[in-house]
Symmetry: D2
Subunit: 303 residues, 4 copies
């Protein structure tokens, strides 16, 4: 692929002029009366216009309340740090909120980890090139060299970090170094190495994995083979946040496809690839759009 | 079926004690900043607690804004007429709102019209008996006598209103008389008579029809036969509000199922029945829960 | 419901005149060349016309071969016992076939067991009344009395067989007595008692259970509650043959529906009911049409 | 992308050694008794082993019969021209069969036509590179230059054939020249030029189009915009063979995805892309595997 073609692709990502004036407030707090009024009142008095508001309460009486508000302001500068200071002082403190402001124009710095199976990686690179994923994919990291050519096609730096089975420490250390301080999302696009609890701790609810199975049906290795042995009539895939507890992290999205006794394990793998690509891409997109909150081992997904 | 059994069924509808304290505000108005803050501020100052809020704007700049807010108050009396007067005076007038308050405890008076195919009727009667549909089914009306026994099983009055092909006026007049002034929802559960524009005008966005096709694919008669001739690989059903323009009313819900060349028109009909039942039941439930607003020939469905 | 209505329903089951001339051969044998030719050659020489042929081999070289052939003969008498004797002598012996002839006109004698949840039972009774299930439902048996009225509505004998938790033997013995020698299919339509291995042994691949979960995801009790705790995005149901190994029997059919964090365990139960009804009804229909063979803990479902 | 990477990809297409010994018989003829026996008897006597047999009859009495038989022989030479001569002489003539033998090892020479939207093209190139599509993609042809880089990445020759709106003749003539005598499949992967009846006549049931709509719901241009105006709750895509009658050709595959009032026409387009990719890829794969027969404006798809 020529450099020209790559640039042309980049140019197709025409950004909405209003993106720079769009903010998103993500809020979690104990539920009690008045939260929505307080937040939307605050926005109104700053001249902001609510464009989408989604909320959820685990229990209106004594439960936990979650909210995602997307809004526009009249000029980008109104989303400066002053906004956050005012919100903390006026609203957040009063309601004991865990909260953050996300600026829609910001592209989250994202790194994709992959092993040999490249379909999930390619789906992400493609959607990104097409302007569907509002992220900055800063690197592809792999314990194999196979993905190098794909990364190059899409103009993304590639890093080969081999893993020593006997001592995974150095590889994780090297990956952490590559991720640096400013990586905001790590996507495991069929990365087949288990990450240590210590590694995971650096990125709470910021590592998305695609599990090639409909969790919790076939936890662990070779799920398509397990599915074939059991003779199931549907196979699926699950995108989830990674926690120290393997395959148990909060589920972001799942989907399935119909199969029959006619499908060999190899064909299940092929059919599974389509679902894995779709499910991972949806989960990553929702994360990039600040649609997914985590609570009590589950996600609240404002999709 | 014995009377005892019928009563036992009735008893299974245990109502949530909080239902009497739950209200729903349905709002449509020109979009401009401050609407959410105004509505939720109003609720907060009356001591109400927002439990669900959903909104949608066709365009944040100059479009039309829609909102559904579900909230609880501390005693049922706070939902009395005073609430409506206060909301009109304080909020609704200022924002040129078309709005209404719905009390969750109220069961909408519902009449089901049916012809010979009874599957959609029975689905509704069953779900109702099981407590899934929060309505008062006050009558079943049919141009045939076939459905009488089913209505009797479920303890619902049945009225046979034959239709004279040459002059449908008297039948419609009789049905209007049976519906009276207080029927809030009319469900056409495979009622095969076309209703006049005049009849429809009495119940704007209050007549739900199940069209045995994935509209707008096979408008009109014998859609399964049409689908078979065309060799489609999916068949579906559509629940929509009835307007004077036949089969063109706002779509509430649709679903499909997979078929193949092996299916005869008769088998398509059989498979279609399952979808029709499910799609109609969903649409009726959403209507009963005040989840569906109509705008510009389409629905805004807060599901 | 009046007796007349019941009879009228019965009358709607107009049977195809060709059903009496339709046979189905179900075959399983070691795979080797010539099987299809031998079976279809046999049918041709007896003047039969193959209308549907489905086959499957676990491995063309040394695997096991399965076939379902539906065919018509010119008069019903050609499906007499002579047919079976001739097939055994001419074809089946040579290929070491496990096989049977099923006559399409025959309605399998079917008994439905149910506990308190009646939705799956009612779905079966309805589809049966509507002529969709080609069976003879000879009895409904329950450990509770709740289903008696429903059975009566549909004119099916009802038997109440309470289960003593301390000693389930007498209840199983009573059920076996009611099933007698001629029951061909037992459907567990949400029957919440575990059947003993001894009981199951009487009906190999003849007891169909609906498991209110997408197996093997949530084996055991309260799967909807488990699903809610885990925060899955799809819930499902599984119809399977019952074996001595609880919840591990060969899967006949599965389906799922989409859910979100908004759904309470109670709502998952309600949504699950629709899937359970549909999945069980499909599995029972396929069994009645002799579409399901069992091999190695899995089904070969010629659907 | 480097040449090395391209070669590595090519190498991943490891072909099953048995592919060279696998044949497929595709048959259509008037239905009468004995066809299956005749065909499978013929295969048996030549030492072939049937691995899959699928058949369908529009009507066992006087209808048209279709069959797909996949079988293996002991050496590739047994699939030489002698096979076809023998089948014609022994079986096909007797039953007035329209038939052909397809050798599984043969990769159909395939050309992809595309305009500006590249997602469907890329899906095909990817699946092909991954070994999922058993074809020889000999060229990409476009009326725009945008796809050139993609074609180059995957090592496929690219031809730019601009279309003069006033006179499309020269462009079609040029495309026909490029297709030559040996192109076996033409895929319109969002090629937005209408092909003349004359052009289509050269490739009966050999041009596959992806229509970005659930046909026949939104025939013609801008279907997603039409779907948005109508407020449908599902959008879909349709892969069909191209006939002289625009958008009316036999449907090979369809699928849908759920949408709501929240989706703008642009978002429908984005969601639609995923379905289009998937549906077109399935249709092309089935065609390449000789699974699709055409009859009476419909497909018989042995999937």
């Amino acid at each position: 692929m020529t450099g020209d073609a790559r640039i042309r692709r980049g140019r197709t990502r025409v950004e909405s002029p209003s993106l720079a004036r769009t903010g998103r407030l993500l809020v979690a707090c104990p539920d009690k009366p008045g939260i929505v009024a307080a937040v939307t009142g605050f926005l109104y008095h700053r001249g902001a216009n609510v464009t989408t508001l989604q909320e959820y309460s685990t229990d209106p009486e004594g439960g936990r309340f979650f909210m995602r508000v997307e809004f526009t302001v009249s000029t980008p500068t109104e989303l400066d740090a002053g906004f956050e200071a005012a919100f903390e002082a006026t609203v957040a403190g009063r309601y004991e909120m865990a909260w953050r402001l996300s600026r829609a124009a910001h592209r989250k710095r994202t790194v994709v980890l992959v092993s040999k199976h490249d379909h999930a990686l390619l789906e992400l690179l493609w959607r990104h090139a097409r302007g569907e994923l509002h992220a900055d994919i800063t690197a592809v990291i792999s314990n194999h060299e196979d993905a190098a050519a794909h990364a190059a096609e899409f103009g993304v730096p590639f890093h080969h970090v081999p893993v020593d089975k006997g001592d995974k420490g150095p590889a994780e250390a090297r990956i952490l170094e590559l991720l640096g301080d400013d990586t905001e999302l790590v996507v495991l696009a069929r990365y087949m190495q288990i990450l240590s609890a210590d590694f995971v701790r650096h990125f709470p609810s910021r590592i998305i994995n695609i599990h090639h199975s409909f969790l919790p049906a076939f936890v662990g290795a070779n799920p398509y083979h397990q599915a074939h042995v059991r003779g199931v009539k549907l196979i699926g895939a699950t995108a989830h946040y990674v926690t120290a507890d393997l395959d148990q992290g909060p589920i972001i999205e799942q989907d399935v496809t119909r199969v029959s006794h006619r499908h060999s394990p190899e064909e299940l793998v092929r059919l599974g690839r389509s679902i894995e690509r779709e499910v991972l891409a949806r989960a990553v997109q929702w994360h990039l759009e600040d649609r997914v909150l985590v609570h009590d081992g589950k996600t609240v997904a404002f999709t």
